[in-house]
Symmetry: C2
């Protein structure tokens, strides 16, 4: 697990070189290199390893997906969105580089990610497969997933609900949180040449994504700033729609428990220590076992 995180950090640092005009590359790199769990790229690499693929070939795609994740954090933190001053324990991008640069750094990461997949994978996988990876990226990064989730999230905060609260909450997180796990897991299977396993693993990714969001909502309720490195209790204070606010803490824990138990199937089937490690940590933190 730690060696995969180190590998991702090393590659992220290598892929973004600071050239003229330096400010934009510094801004991209600032949030990108803040210490993080690198869950998404690590899961992508682990899927590739599990299915007998080549981790080296998967690194550009894994890192590109982390760039997309960081892009969404930079734009979500903007004053016109969630207006968050801290991210991973440090001042958010726009607090350091200003709003204009934060918008542009997000834009730059959003388009650098597929560029990286193409340039660093070309010749190592067939063009058809690279095109498939970029297609997956564009499907999940845009208005049909990630951005749809963010838009409905913002609308729900303004009390504008087109669908029921339950449906709205699931829509937001299937498209926001889960999409960012579905993408690396689907890409992992594609890189490993196991196209026939994409849909089965996608089911795992959806369940894991929702479990992870419920984990996040519960942690926002019970943790401290020091533990999470971001503003805490904001959801509660703003009356935001979360799994805890909608179902209550106990029912949210139950939902989390059911989803996370299903996720262990992947550990049993593929004997993945990395996935066992990730699932164990989340379960212990929420359920104490």
């Amino acid at each position: 697990m730690n060696s995969l995180i180190e590998l991702v950090n090393k590659k992220l640092d290598e892929y973004v070189q600071i050239i003229y005009p330096e400010e934009i590359f510094k801004s991209m790199k600032y949030t990108l290199m803040l210490p993080g769990k690198r869950l998404r790229p690590v899961m992508c690499l682990e899927i590739v390893r599990m299915l007998g693929g080549d981790i080296e070939v998967a690194l550009p795609t894994a890192c590109a997906i982390e760039m997309l994740h960081v892009q969404s954090l930079i734009h979500d933190d903007l004053p016109c969105m969630d207006n968050d001053d801290f991210r991973r324990g440090k001042p958010s991008n726009h607090k350091v580089f200003g709003e204009a640069n934060a918008v542009l750094a997000g834009d730059a990461l959003l388009t650098f990610a597929p560029q990286l997949i193409i340039e660093k994978t070309k010749g190592k996988l067939p063009d058809e497969i690279i095109l498939k990876l970029v297609h997956e990226y564009t499907k999940f990064a845009g208005a049909y997933a990630l951005i749809a989730g963010q838009v409905v999230d913002i609308e729900s905060e303004c009390g504008k609900l087109v669908r029921s609260a339950e449906e709205t909450l699931d829509f937001i997180h299937m498209n926001k949180t889960a999409a960012l796990f579905r993408l690396p897991i689907r890409c992992g299977a594609i890189i490993a040449g196991k196209i026939d396993l994409v849909e089965e693993l996608d089911e795992f990714a959806k369940k894991f994504g929702l479990a992870f969001q419920i984990y996040d909502d519960i942690m926002d309720e019970i943790s401290t700033f020091e533990e999470l490195g971001k503003t805490i209790g904001k959801d509660k204070n703003s009356g935001k729609l979360t799994y805890v606010s909608l179902y209550g803490l106990e029912e949210a824990k139950n939902k989390f428990g059911l989803l996370i138990n299903d996720c262990y199937d992947i550990v049993n089937k593929y004997h993945s220590n990395v996935f066992k490690n990730i699932l164990d940590k989340l379960r212990e933190r929420i359920l104490g076992v």
Copy 2:
């Protein structure tokens, strides 16, 4: 020329369907469908026609490039950037949909554009060529071109010049304005299967791009709001670095004249009425002949 514009408008309208969550698709479509000259997609299609390619096959790419252009307009108009309330004679995106939606609509267009190229060109061109088109898109849309130009533009407005004023101005517009003409022209040659002509046509695109920016700077000096549909005299009033502010009106006209004359080579070589039409209009407006 007009039939190409109509074709582009029809396809843009068709490609962006308004589904749930409607607000984001409405926001994307609002700025996209404001009446414009559609110069970039039209030039892409005309290159394809000139070189014997299939315009139908080129339409998704041509429209994707217009989406990138519109994305850059939406984000440039934001309060934290140029803070412009009008675009193409109408309220800018953030004035109608709010800042959060304007940021997200830009993000969504930026990633929908390559998705469109892949989904609508798949099977009509070899995967290798589609991958090349998407690669060109990512190279020009990001921190190595369009965004680099925008960052240096913003820095120069704050009086922060790392290079000389002349070099800075050329860097900004080679990366901002010219990049958005280089991309459709290069893609046009690629779609037509004339890879060997890409670099020659790229030289035309660079000259046209700079000429077009000088045209724009001069028009900002001599036009009215009614003519341009956007705030006028802003550059002058803000002391912005432009070809007119740096070289004076007469010298800017001279520079424009030299560049635009070179551009006529393409008209003579390929007998393109569309390019003749575009060049004639620009020249007449600035030089009166």
